[in-house]
């Protein structure tokens, strides 16, 4: 009987702890959401979790237009869309060749790429900045996209090369005997077979690049760069100016605009996202 009692006690205390952590996770997000509809007085003096007296949507309009969240959001979509696509295309091409073709320097090239995993971006920030500057790409989306792709390649290649190795040989051989070119074999046969791995690593890159902050801060600066800023940069900027412009609701509205798509995507694809993001640790 002692085991049963034991379980009940544990389950009871366990529920309290789990519920408390869930509240701590949701609390700040819920507060942000509610505050974007409130007036400054309500935000400062009211109960943080009380509903607003009137639901005022005005802050969303101000955040979108006056604080340029619309522009930043669009910039993020463009930059991350292109760079994730580029990462997946170039990463899967390199991983495929390195995993399934034997040639001189194959291992050397593989380790050359994988060695990049040891260097976090913030370590090489200074020389990277100078390289991008020398290439005339400072303050441009092109520069940021190329840098995103370059820094995403090591992990993408590492992960996908392992995945391509597990694919059966028979199908590939049959396709080549049928006269398919190597390129056709890759795009028509091997890529579709690698779909589960591609989905995981696409999600991994998409979220990583969407949430990137140190690279845009270092590379999208200088005159006129503000119109090129991505969402994370814009949010950080609004948070410093919200104080003296005294438009807190607009800051919370901006945060809400940034959070809602992530929460929505997560709600739909939570299984794939969880496995995509933990993929790195399992390897």
């Amino acid at each position: 009987m002692s085991v049963k009692k034991d379980v009940k006690l544990l389950a009871g205390a366990g529920h309290v702890m789990l519920a408390m952590w869930a509240l701590m996770v949701i609390g700040p997000l819920l507060f942000t959401f509610i505050a974007s509809f409130k007036s400054n007085t309500e935000i400062f003096l009211g109960n943080p979790f009380a509903l607003p007296a009137t639901w005022d949507f005005g802050a969303f309009g101000r955040a979108w237009r006056e604080a340029h969240i619309g522009t930043y959001f669009l910039n993020s979509v463009i930059v991350v869309g292109v760079s994730t696509f580029g990462t997946m295309l170039l990463g899967s091409m390199a991983a495929y060749v390195l995993a399934r073709y034997q040639f001189r320097f194959n291992r050397a090239i593989y380790y050359y790429f994988v060695a990049g995993l040891a260097f976090p971006v913030y370590v090489v920030l200074t020389p990277l900045y100078l390289v991008v500057q020398a290439a005339g790409l400072l303050g441009t989306h092109t520069g940021l996209i190329l840098v995103y792709i370059a820094y995403s390649l090591p992990f993408t290649i590492f992960f996908l090369a392992a995945f391509f190795k597990t694919l059966p040989n028979a199908v590939a051989e049959a396709a080549l005997i049928d006269g398919a070119s190597h390129t056709k074999l890759f795009f028509r046969v091997m890529l579709p077979m690698a779909k589960p791995g591609l989905v995981s690593i696409t999600i991994f890159n998409l979220i990583g690049q969407w949430n990137q902050y140190v690279l845009p801060v270092a590379l999208l600066q200088g005159e006129g760069a503000e119109s090129k800023w991505v969402l994370t940069q814009g949010i950080a900027d609004i948070s410093t100016s919200a104080g003296y412009e005294a438009d807190w609701a607009a800051l919370f509205a901006a945060l809400t605009i940034a959070i809602i798509p992530m929460v929505a995507v997560y709600a739909f694809f939570q299984r794939q996202i969880q496995s995509g993001l933990t993929a790195g640790a399992v390897k």
Partner: protein, 301 residues
């Protein structure tokens, strides 16, 4: 069949190698070269100064202050995060009743897992800005507003408890990731093992310490290394949350922020590059030590 093989291999590799070389490998090589010079952005000329920059780093109080902050994070972040994540994942997987001899998770465990993981998909910057309001110094901060209802004087989180406040945010964001990771590990432990232990009269607590933790040891080690590496970052949080980006008075400074300020704002390229090399050495030393230290005979199941 071999026709067109070599052009194909070269064609598929040339662009990735070029991009990677220009933006990753070349800057790494440059990092080391620049760290040995006195180059500052003011003049295009610079001289080779050997290890002078590193000597300066060793006597720079700002650097030591930042290193202390990394040490605090290095110890506390993995410890608290792993402890909480292990506890939560154990409850989620085995905290409930026993069904046909096997322990099940508590009621609602699927919901908890989804909620706990949510912070992981949010950008650190956005999390940082939100917590800037959570830690607000007066009634406008969530925590102080709640404390005020209990008649507690406002706590100056960022001014007086900066590093601990940042540690709290890092833990808040990380726990869910490791709950999912450990849950996956626990799910792969065969049920018979638990069944046998329970028949032998072992309590849940005994099961947790004697079976779950030893069998998850490899995953816990990986978690330790990951969280340790995270402890050398904290760039985004310090940039958006703290007073004067690393203040007050350097109380929340971290090396990535020093590198950014020295290298990109002040154009002290030589010194900033040397800081980068130092940070790299610290990270690699930690990773190597952590991988060695936790090694022990793996338990098979």
């Amino acid at each position: 069949m071999r026709h067109g093989r070599n052009p194909f291999v070269v064609g598929f590799l040339v662009t990735p190698i070029a991009l990677y070389t220009i933006f990753v490998a070349y800057p790494i090589a440059e990092l080391i070269r620049i760290s040995l010079t006195d180059w500052s952005g003011l003049s295009p000329e610079f001289t080779f100064v050997g290890l002078d920059n590193f000597g300066k780093i060793l006597t720079d109080d700002k650097v030591w202050q930042a290193v202390q902050h990394h040490l605090l994070l290095l110890i506390a972040l993995p410890l608290v995060t792993i402890a909480l994540a292990l506890l939560f994942s154990f409850l989620l997987n085995m905290g409930g009743g026993t069904r046909s001899g096997l322990a099940t998770g508590v009621w609602g465990s699927k919901f908890y897992r989804v909620v706990f993981f949510l912070p992981q998909v949010l950008a650190v910057v956005i999390v940082g800005v939100i917590f800037g309001r959570v830690y607000g110094p007066d009634q406008s901060g969530i925590l102080n507003s709640l404390l005020g209802r209990l008649n507690v004087e406002p706590v100056q989180f960022m001014a007086e408890w900066g590093m601990l406040s940042i540690l709290g945010v890092l833990i808040w964001q990380a726990v869910g990731f490791y709950v999912v990771l450990f849950s996956a590990g626990m799910a792969s432990i065969p049920g018979e093992l638990y069944e046998a232990a329970v028949i032998d009269g072992a309590s849940r607590v005994t099961v947790f310490f004697r079976i779950t933790i030893p069998l998850l040891w490899e995953t816990i080690r990986v978690a330790w290394v990951y969280l340790g590496i995270l402890a050398f970052d904290a760039f985004a949080l310090v940039m958006v949350m703290t007073i004067e980006q690393g203040g007050p008075d350097g109380d929340t400074s971290v090396l990535p922020v020093l590198i950014y300020k020295q290298g990109i704002r002040e154009s002290e390229y030589g010194y900033a590059a040397a800081l980068g090399v130092s940070l790299f050495l610290l990270t690699v030393t930690f990773a190597a030590l952590a991988l060695r230290a936790g090694r022990r005979d793996t338990l098979e199941h």
